[in-house]
């Protein structure tokens, strides 16, 4: 007993102070890719290399539309390797959670040349993650004392990758309980369902029942590329795709799997929404979700 205490005291504080202090990321860590739409000469190699179809190219007449969906992205870096023009670059950004699915989708439109190449960027979307996460999180934490959030985690068909990182939230380094957030054993005790996917045909009913058993006001967070969109599994005879194919989702957390800080970021974002619904906090100004704007040329 004495030895255990001695060991524990000798460690001191193991907890990382995210989000106040940015996490220590290895130099090699891969966050989401970043796209320089103006410099992008040809999106097709990246689209061909993308394992989950997060980058899609569709041509019609003299118009080429390129779509990038962070809700499908698994941060593998294949698009960066495939793009010869340097327009795709892997970043260390991981705080990508969004409450509007459309915020995770970027689009660009180009003039299509007869030889298959493209040029002349005509339109580009504003970009993913237009919410101001730091401010929202700071507000949430500010109001947090004396309040708690209970989460029921539901694996609706995941590969167990997301679960590994969700479990990590309970370890002393990420220690989610310091926010008054804890994981509960029953949906009846939960304010939030943290759902991983893809939702399988065999789990659909269980997911619906779990949702129905959760008292209002409740919030649903979809975790990971598969939870958002079905990821690499997509939709097939056994997979229904993302969580929002079955129940409505309030916050989406991209990643494969999202690192613990990315999960915390998304959960804290969702926490702000719980408080709005309970009337504790006023709703923020509606942001311009996925708005298309004209590029100055």
């Amino acid at each position: 007993m004495f030895k255990i205490l001695q060991k524990t005291f000798s460690i001191g504080t193991a907890t990382a102070n995210y989000p106040r202090i940015a996490p220590h990321l290895a130099e090699q860590f891969r966050g989401c890719p970043e796209f320089d739409f103006e410099a992008w000469r040809d999106a097709r190699p990246a689209a061909d290399a993308c394992p989950t179809g997060a980058i899609a190219v569709s041509d019609r007449d003299s118009l080429r539309k390129v779509t990038v969906d962070y809700g499908r992205c698994i941060f593998c870096g294949e698009c960066e390797l495939a793009s010869v023009d340097g327009a795709v670059r892997m970043t260390q950004r991981f705080e990508l959670a969004a409450s509007d699915r459309r915020d995770l989708i970027l689009t660009a439109e180009y003039t299509l040349h007869p030889d298959g190449s493209h040029a002349g960027l005509q339109l580009a979307s504003r970009g993913a993650n237009v919410e101001e996460p730091e401010q929202r999180i700071a507000a949430a934490i500010h109001h947090l004392l004396g309040r708690s959030l209970s989460i029921r985690q539901v694996d609706a068909g995941s590969c167990n990758g997301c679960e590994q990182e969700i479990v990590s939230l309970n370890n002393p380094v990420h220690d989610i309980e310091r926010f008054g957030i804890h994981f509960v054993a029953s949906p009846r005790h939960a304010d939030m369902l943290l759902v991983t996917g893809p939702v399988t045909r065999n789990m659909e009913l269980a997911l619906r029942k779990t949702w129905a058993a959760t008292p209002d006001p409740k919030i649903v967070v979809a975790v990971g590329a598969c939870g958002i969109s079905g990821g690499i599994f997509g939709t097939n005879y056994a997979s229904m795709g993302g969580v929002d194919a079955v129940i409505s989702v309030d916050v989406y957390i991209p990643g494969c799997p999202p690192r613990p800080e990315a999960l915390l970021h998304g959960i804290l974002l969702a926490l702000g929404q719980v408080r709005q619904r309970m009337g504790i906090e006023p709703a923020p100004r509606k942001h311009q979700a996925g708005g298309i704007f004209r590029v100055q040329t």
């Binding site: 090699q28 698994i74 593998c76 985690q153 990758g161 029953s186 056994a238 799997p257």
Partner: protein, 525 residues
């Protein structure tokens, strides 16, 4: 090989048609018909062979038949023996071995569900992989498109074995569990505290993975292999890449083999530490789990600096690994291992310091060695019950053929033995990583990309941290796969949990289950 085949042909002249060894160490014996009972008994008796797995393939379009494959591992022999058995499409059935060999119980029923081939004489021929309320479809047949939309659920999910008697009742648990774990249904039949029997219902996370493999270009399919069981992403990815490399004759450079070996062992270290903490946690020893979580984070940080991902995704690729390491990264391995080793020693001391913990772990969830052998249990669960199997030693791959290590085996088969296997293996793995780093060869980290020829078959096996992961593939045209069979060790090991729970009490279930820590997604695919 020749003498082995001649002996077999002399003994079963009616059945044995031909033999081939296109890939060194993989002897494929083609039979004339589906009756394998005699040959299987001969293998088990004469060679102390173990039936590793059974799976099927639809070759009706190409050859007019289905094939069943029976993979054997002969004691002390480096080569795998694969029986290839044609099944006529007009007589879609094969004799079941499950009554004699409980190890193939689920795998034969998978073949029934997915291919519509009947396992004649199966003691429990009900559905396993597709739940009862699925329509009458066979998704792995070639005439079934991946994106088929099935009608919505109707009717009863599964009828469990009834139980009657005073005080006898069912405790249904799941598929949504109390902890942060994967979905599955456990149906306990209890008389008071003691469990009469436990019925399992798995395949809740069945997401069409084997079918999906047939619909992806091979380079993309590597990422799918990483998503078969997310806690074993690197092991599954490596096993898949090895199968492709064997089929296409791609030589993996020596440096890549060592890099893979290091990462395979780091995956084992991270997961074993996590399990050691979780076992302690399940008997109420929370502080040990907290320390384990902290040590695990050190390992995951190292994995991130080596691969760009905490769970080592996007690293393994066909022909090697995607990224080479700089000097500083290699030094980080030694530095981190030094700290991890010291912290791990303290963690083990904490776990073992508590007599009440020892009391709860000893004689809990006992799987006797004879039962483990009969059920075909592999990996940690097997080695804790006297089943001395380890693919790294028995069928060496990557850099394991150059490395010496000890395979811990315990005979008691209780939760504590499974804990001890993990503790010993972490120490061994740290030494393996050290040796691999010390002998890391120079040279390229991946072979140049080359086209993958069609119609080649290969099997590969990797000792993941849970146990033996097996991939069998047939390549197709256009850089795609005709078939990809995935066998996670969990598929073998679930029956062990049923076995250990009989006569036990419900309160011991969580820690027993955790001590096996099987993958649901790896089972269900």
């Amino acid at each position: 090989m020749t003498s082995f085949f001649e002996e077999l042909r002399d003994r079963f002249p009616e059945q044995v048609r031909s033999v081939e060894e296109q890939i060194s160490g993989q002897i494929v014996i083609l039979l004339n018909g589906p009756d394998v009972t005699g040959i299987v008994q001969h293998f088990l008796a004469e060679y102390q062979a173990r039936l590793v797995t059974v799976f099927a393939e639809d070759r009706v379009n190409a050859e007019g038949v289905f094939y069943n494959y029976y993979v054997f591992d002969r004691l002390g022999d480096l080569a795998w023996v694969i029986l290839k058995v044609p099944i006529l499409k007009d007589h879609p059935s094969f004799p079941s071995l499950a009554a004699e060999l409980p190890a193939v119980n689920w795998q034969e029923r998978e073949i029934q569900d997915w291919f519509g081939l009947e396992a004649v004489g199966h003691p429990n021929p009900r559905r396993v992989a597709l739940h009862d309320n699925w329509p009458d479809v066979h998704p792995l047949r070639k005439d079934f498109p991946l994106d088929t939309v099935l009608p919505p659920f109707e009717g009863e999910r599964h009828v469990y074995r009834p139980a009657h008697g005073e005080g006898v009742l069912h405790i249904p648990v799941g598929p949504v569990h109390a902890g942060i774990i994967e979905p599955g249904h456990f149906n306990f039949t209890v008389a008071g505290e003691p469990i009469l029997y436990l019925q399992l219902r798995m395949f809740y996370t069945h997401k069409g993975t084997e079918k999906l493999f047939e619909n992806l270009p091979i380079p993309r399919a590597v990422f799918l292999a990483e998503s078969v069981s997310g806690d074993s992403a690197f092991s599954h990815g490596t096993a898949f890449c090895q199968a492709i490399e064997l089929a296409a004759g791609i030589e993996v450079p020596a440096r890549a083999q060592f890099l893979r070996t290091i990462l395979l062992e780091l995956e084992r270290i991270a997961n074993h530490i996590s399990d050691i903490g979780a076992i302690a946690n399940d008997v109420g020893f929370v502080i040990a789990n907290a320390h384990a979580g902290r040590v695990r984070e050190m390992v995951l940080g190292l994995c991130e600096s080596l691969t760009g991902s905490r769970v080592m995704r996007g690293m393994v690729t066909i022909g090697g690994v995607r990224r080479d390491w700089q000097r500083a990264q290699i030094e980080a391995i030694e530095n981190t291992l030094h700290r991890v080793e010291r912290e791990f020693r303290d963690l083990v001391a904490i776990v073992q310091s508590s007599n009440s913990t020892r009391e709860r772990l000893e004689h809990t969830g006992v799987l006797r060695p004879d039962k483990a052998k009969m059920l075909g249990i592999v990996g940690v669960g097997g080695r804790a019950s006297g089943v001395d199997l380890d693919v790294r030693r028995d069928h060496p791959y990557e850099a394991y053929r150059h490395l010496l290590f000890r395979v811990p085996v315990y005979q008691e088969g209780d939760v504590r033995s499974r804990l001890m296997v993990r503790i010993d293996e972490v120490s061994e793995s740290i030494q393996i990583v050290r040796a691999a780093v010390a002998h890391l060869p120079d040279g390229p980290h991946r072979a140049p990309a080359q086209p993958i020829p069609p119609d080649r078959c290969a099997m590969s096996a990797v000792e993941g941290w849970r146990g033996e992961i097996l991939y069998w593939i047939r390549t197709g045209d256009g850089n795609r796969l005709e078939r990809c069979k995935v066998k996670d060790p969990s598929l073998n090991n679930w029956p062990a949990i049923v076995e250990t729970m009989e006569g036990n009490i419900v309160a011991d279930f969580p820690v027993t289950n955790k001590s096996f820590n099987l993958s649901y997604s790896g089972t269900d695919r």
